[in-house]
C-alpha cells in the first residue's frame, strides 16, 4: 500500500512533467503539421539555462528567466528557420528540426561539457513535505506537481477564455479559413511555437534538478515524448494528457516491480529457460512505453483521441 501510494504520486509528478512537454509538441504539430524533433532540446536548454541562472541569480529568478530565454529561441527558430523552409514542404521542416536537435546538443557539449552538471534542487524546497506511513515524500516533488497543475490550468484558460486561444483552437482544424477571416496565422504560429518552447523549457527547469542535467537528457526524454504524442493521438491535447499520465505511471510503477517472466510462467505451471525466466518487469521498464506505442499504432493508427492520421 505504501509502495503503491508513493509510486502513484511519483507517476503523477512524472506524467504531469511529460504533459508539459507533449502539450507544446501536440499544439505545434496540429497547427503547423511539423513534428518538432528539437522539442526535447528545448527541455534540455531549459535545464541548462536554469542551472546557469541559479548559479548567478538563484533558483527563483531562473524559474522565470530560463523559460523566457527558451521561448525567445523558439520564436527565432520559427520566424527565421521554419517559416523560410515552409515552402519546401514538411520534409524540409522536419529535417530542419532534426538538424537543430543535434546543433543544440553540440552547443551544450561546447559550453557545459559532456558530463552532467551539478544542478541541485533549491535549499528552500529540500525538505520532507509529508510522510506516507514510513516513507517520507520530498517537498520538491510536490512543488513540481503544483507548477505542472498551475501550467495546466493556465493553458486551459488561455485556450478557452481568450481570443487568441480561440484562434489557436480554430487553427488546429482549419488554419486556411482562420487566415481568410483576417487573422495573422503566421504570427499565431510563431506565438504557439514560442509558447511550446517555453513550456518545454519550464519542464527542463523543474525536471533538470529532480532528475539529471546532462547532454543526453534531450534524447532520453525526447523519445518518450514522441511516444506520448503518438499514443495520445496526433493533434489532441486531451489525448496527450491521458497518455502522459499513463506513460508516467507505467514507467514509474514498472521499475519498482520485481515480478518476472518466470513467475508468470509458473502461474500456468510452465517451465522456461533461466535466461528468459529471470527477466523482471523492472528490467523491461524501458521497453514498455515503446511497446505500448507499437500496439496502439497497430490497433488504432490515429491514437487514443487523435483527429488526424498523418
Amino acid at each position: 500500500m505504501e509502495f503503491f501510494l508513493v509510486q502513484l504520486l511519483n507517476g503523477l509528478a512524472y506524467g504531469l512533467l511529460l504533459f508539459m512537454l507533449s502539450s507544446g509538441l501536440t499544439l505545434i504539430f496540429s497547427m503547423m503539421g511539423v513534428l518538432n524533433f528539437a522539442h526535447a532540446s528545448f527541455y534540455m536548454l531549459g535545464a541548462y539555462f536554469a542551472y546557469q541562472c541559479s548559479k548567478w541569480l538563484g533558483f527563483w529568478p531562473a524559474l522565470v528567466v530560463a523559460p523566457l530565454l527558451v521561448a525567445g529561441i523558439g520564436a527565432l527558430v520559427e520566424r527565421f528557420g521554419l517559416r523560410t523552409v515552409h515552402k519546401f514542404g514538411h520534409v524540409a521542416e522536419l529535417l530542419l528540426t532534426f538538424g537543430l536537435a543535434y546543433v543544440i546538443e553540440e552547443i551544450v557539449h561546447l559550453v557545459w561539457g559532456r558530463a552532467a552538471v551539478d544542478y541541485q534542487i533549491p535549499e528552500a524546497l529540500n525538505f520532507t513535505a509529508f510522510h506516507i506511513l514510513t516513507s517520507s515524500y520530498p517537498a520538491y516533488r510536490v512543488f513540481m506537481m503544483a507548477i505542472s497543475i498551475a501550467m495546466l490550468i493556465g493553458l486551459y484558460l488561455g485556450l478557452t477564455r481568450t481570443r487568441v486561444g480561440l484562434v489557436i483552437q480554430a487553427s488546429l482544424t482549419h488554419p486556411e479559413m482562420v487566415e481568410a477571416l483576417g487573422h495573422n496565422v503566421p504570427r499565431v504560429f510563431m506565438l504557439v511555437f514560442a509558447a511550446g518552447a517555453a513550456l518545454a523549457g519550464l519542464a527542463g527547469v523543474i525536471g533538470g534538478n529532480a532528475f539529471v542535467t546532462e547532454p543526453g537528457m534531450a534524447a532520453a526524454v525526447g523519445s518518450i515524448v514522441f511516444v506520448v504524442v503518438v499514443f495520445g493521438g496526433m493533434g489532441s491535447l486531451l489525448g496527450a494528457f491521458i497518455a502522459s499520465l499513463l506513460i508516467g505511471m507505467v514507467q514509474t510503477f514498472s521499475v519498482g516491480i520485481d515480478y518476472s517472466i518466470g513467475d508468470l510462467a509458473g502461474l500456468f505451471g510452465a517451465q522456461i529457460p533461466e535466461q528468459f525466466a529471470s527477466i523482471t518487469l523492472a528490467r523491461m521498464a524501458p521497453m514498455l512505453p515503446y511497446l505500448l506505442m507499437v500496439m496502439m499504432l497497430v490497433m488504432r493508427p490515429k491514437g487514443l483521441m487523435g483527429t488526424r492520421e498523418t
Binding site: 486556411e176 482562420v178 477571416l181 483576417g182
Partner: protein
C-alpha cells in the same frame, strides 16, 4: 471594385487557370458558372491568396497577388469556401466571434442582427458547430464571414446539398447582403439561384472565361449553355 486580369495558376505542374479576366463592381451580384473542375473555385482561391498565381487581381486599386490571405481579408474581401470550414469543436457563437477582425462589430453586421435573420443560429448559440445540420452550417459560415464586414464576399457553391427551402434562405441572404451595399461573387454549378439574383454572369471552361453577359443573354444563348454548362 475587383478587377482580375490575365490570372494564371498552377497546381504543381498542371496549369489550371489560363489567363482569367473578370470584374465585380461595388454592390452587384456576379456569378461565376461552369462545370466541375474548370477552375471556378481556383479563381476565387487565387484572389484570396490561398493558391499561388501570377497575373493581376486588384481590389479597390490594391494589387492582391503576392499578399497573404489575412492581409487580403483586412482590405475587405470575404471568402466562404465550398467545404464551409466550420470550426467543429467551437460553439456557434465562438465561430461567429472569430469572424470579427477587431474586438467588436462596427460595420454593417453584428451578431444580434444576424441572429435575427436566422433565429435558428441563436437557438443553437452554445452548441458545438460540428453537430449542426448542413443548412445551418452554411448559414453559419456565411454569417461568420459577414461579421468581418467585407465589401466583397466570394461564396463558393453555397447551395450544394441543401433542401429547396434552405436554398431559398441562401438566395434571400445574398439579396440582403447586396442591399446593404456588399458586392457578391457567387460560384455556382447549377443555374437556379444564380440567374435569379445576379446582375451579370461569367461562364468558365478549361481555365478561361468563355462567356460574359446578363442572365437574360445566357438564357437566350443555348449554344453556350449546351457546350459549357449542361451535363
Amino acid at each position: 471594385m475587383l478587377e482580375v486580369s490575365d490570372l494564371h495558376a498552377y497546381y504543381g505542374k498542371s496549369h489550371v487557370l489560363h489567363g482569367v479576366n473578370l470584374r465585380v463592381e461595388p454592390g452587384e451580384i456576379v456569378s461565376l458558372l461552369g462545370r466541375n473542375g474548370v477552375g471556378r473555385s481556383t479563381t476565387i482561391k487565387a484572389v484570396m491568396g490561398h493558391v499561388h498565381c501570377t497575373g493581376s487581381a486588384r481590389f479597390k486599386s490594391t494589387e492582391l497577388v503576392g499578399k497573404r490571405a489575412y492581409e487580403i481579408a483586412h482590405l475587405g474581401v470575404g471568402y466562404v469556401p465550398e467545404d464551409r470550414s466550420i470550426f467543429p469543436t467551437l460553439t456557434v457563437i465562438q465561430n461567429m466571434v472569430l469572424g470579427l477582425k477587431g474586438k467588436e462589430a462596427t460595420g454593417r453586421w453584428n451578431m444580434e442582427g444576424l441572429f435575427d435573420l436566422f433565429p435558428r443560429l441563436r437557438e443553437r448559440g452554445d452548441t458545438p458547430a460540428g453537430v449542426l445540420s448542413g443548412g445551418e452550417q452554411q448559414m453559419l459560415t456565411l454569417c461568420r464571414t459577414l461579421m468581418g464586414d467585407p465589401d466583397l464576399i466570394m461564396v463558393d457553391e453555397p447551395t450544394e446539398g441543401l433542401s429547396p427551402m434552405m436554398v431559398e434562405n441562401v438566395a434571400n441572404l445574398l439579396r440582403e447582403i447586396q442591399k446593404r451595399g456588399v458586392a457578391v461573387l457567387l460560384v455556382e454549378q447549377k443555374l437556379t439561384i444564380a440567374l435569379a439574383i445576379s446582375r451579370r454572369v461569367y461562364v468558365m471552361g478549361h481555365g478561361q472565361i468563355v462567356f460574359e453577359g446578363t442572365p437574360e443573354q445566357l438564357k437566350a444563348n443555348a449554344d453556350v449553355r449546351k457546350e459549357w454548362l449542361e451535363v
